[in-house]
Amino acid sequence: MFGYIIANKPELKIKEYEIYKSYYCGLCKTLGKNSGQIARLSLSYDMTFVYIVLSALYEPKESRKPEKCVLHPVKKQCVMVNSIADYVADMSVFMTYLKGRDDWKDRETMKKSIAGRLTMDITEKSYKQIKEKYHNKVSFILSRMKRLDEGEKHNSDIDYMAGAFGDIMGEVFCMNNDIWEMTVRKMGFYLGKFIYLMDAYEDIEKDIKTKNYNPFFDAYRRLGKEMFDEYAEKILIMMMADCTREFEKLPIVENVELIRNILYSGVWTKYRKIKGNGKKDE
């Protein structure tokens, strides 16, 4: 999807990396099984993360075995599948459809627009089925997408906009309405805000040039580049601080170090690259 919720690979133990891959492959396999081979295009590390966290929270019966894969014809890949994969696969397709629709409507670049349209067409049939299956969830998420659209027109404040996307992620994380719902929702909420703001931070200079909406526009203009960078970093850290505060309330024991690698370090991978490119001497 956005590609920020990934692991800091060099810091992972090899067994943690193998487990990470097995969830990724498990999600891929489930996407193919439930929504057709082409739905595998919805596969993302972001949703793999959701899969890992929910699996760690609910500890469903799992099957983990080596399988052959079209993309890896030589060596068998270990594939982790459980009942949660079905839910996450559905959410993946749904979010992919929405993102495609968003890109298509934005008309930012020709290439992105067409890719968006294609994505929509590919996932449309599954999208309709998912819409029926998760009626309330889908309505809620669509209402927040609408908030994002309207908010851009009215230049709504940054908490409102990031919060709308946060609400969407919170809803995606909430598989069950149970004792963990509030905490899981909050964790997803702040993670969603982080993703939205990181995306905006990455695009700020480009958006200023092309006069596209960016929630950081006011701050950038007010603070100037250097102070803005400091301000943005402070805000991004605040999002992850709040996200991890919620995460640490959950009784997660399985794969907890892998999840912590992602939340405490991996999410900054792209940011590290952006800063690395931007700065001439460090």
Binding site: E248, V253, R260
Partner: protein
């Protein structure tokens, strides 16, 4: 009510991770799915709920949300369905009531009192609505706005307003405490990220390990 620590079979000084492991051990044992063929499955289900609630209670106590084993002072009342109730007045001791009778209060003061009451009972959206009515935004306004915003997830605005409250009344310990709590969250996160590679470009790995040992007090992965 049973002591939640006893329910999980841990001591009160157990670490968060130890609490989680204790929960897992018991929840795997008493989970309904694991007791389908158990003749005592109703008791198992009761125990399962008890274990879950004990865990929640301990986490609430530890995050400062609840005082002792009951509901904390100043935290959400029964009306609150808001999921963001983490920043009530539990950590802020008393409220320095300005001793004016209700009839002598200005409109602004009445709004601030109403906002405070809403916050105390967990009605944060209403608190924000009332705060919008206030004409003159003093330090107290920014303080209350920060808390209300924090509790609905508007942490960016909240941090700005908390800072503004301190700017306007630097000697007010309550305002400083709130601002400090927000900063501490960020500091704790940054420290905790060190053993996982941290946020910045990774330098010399040996140096990083040493730094992590120095900074992190719960370093579980460093040798």
């Amino acid at each position: 009510m049973n002591n939640p620590y006893d329910v999980l079979g841990v001591s009160e000084s157990a670490s968060d991770d130890e609490i989680k492991k204790a929960y897992r051990k018991l929840s795997r044992k008493y989970h309904p799915d694991a007791n389908i063929n158990n003749p005592n499955k109703l008791q198992a289900e009761e125990k399962f709920k008890e274990v879950q609630q004990a865990y929640q209670q301990i986490m609430d106590i530890r995050s400062g949300k609840a005082g002792s084993y009951g509901t904390g002072y100043g935290n959400s009342g029964s009306g609150s369905t808001n999921p963001f109730d983490d920043f009530g007045f539990g950590g802020f001791g008393g409220f320095n009531q300005r001793q004016r009778t209700a009839s002598n209060q200005t409109a602004d003061e009445k709004y601030l009192t109403a906002a405070y009451d809403y916050i105390r009972t967990g009605y944060y959206e209403q608190a924000l609505n009332v705060l919008m009515q206030v004409e003159t935004r003093n330090a107290r306004w920014y303080f209350l706005s920060a808390i209300a915003n924090l509790n609905v997830g508007n942490n960016i605005i909240a941090e700005q307003h908390a800072a503004q409250a301190v700017n306007m009344e630097p000697d007010n310990m309550e305002y400083r405490a709130l601002y400090s709590q927000i900063q501490q969250g960020a500091t704790r996160y940054t420290q905790r990220s060190e053993p996982y590679g941290g946020m910045q470009m990774s330098g010399d790995p040996c140096m990083q390990c040493c730094m992590a040992n120095l900074l992190c007090n719960c370093c579980c992965r460093c040798i």
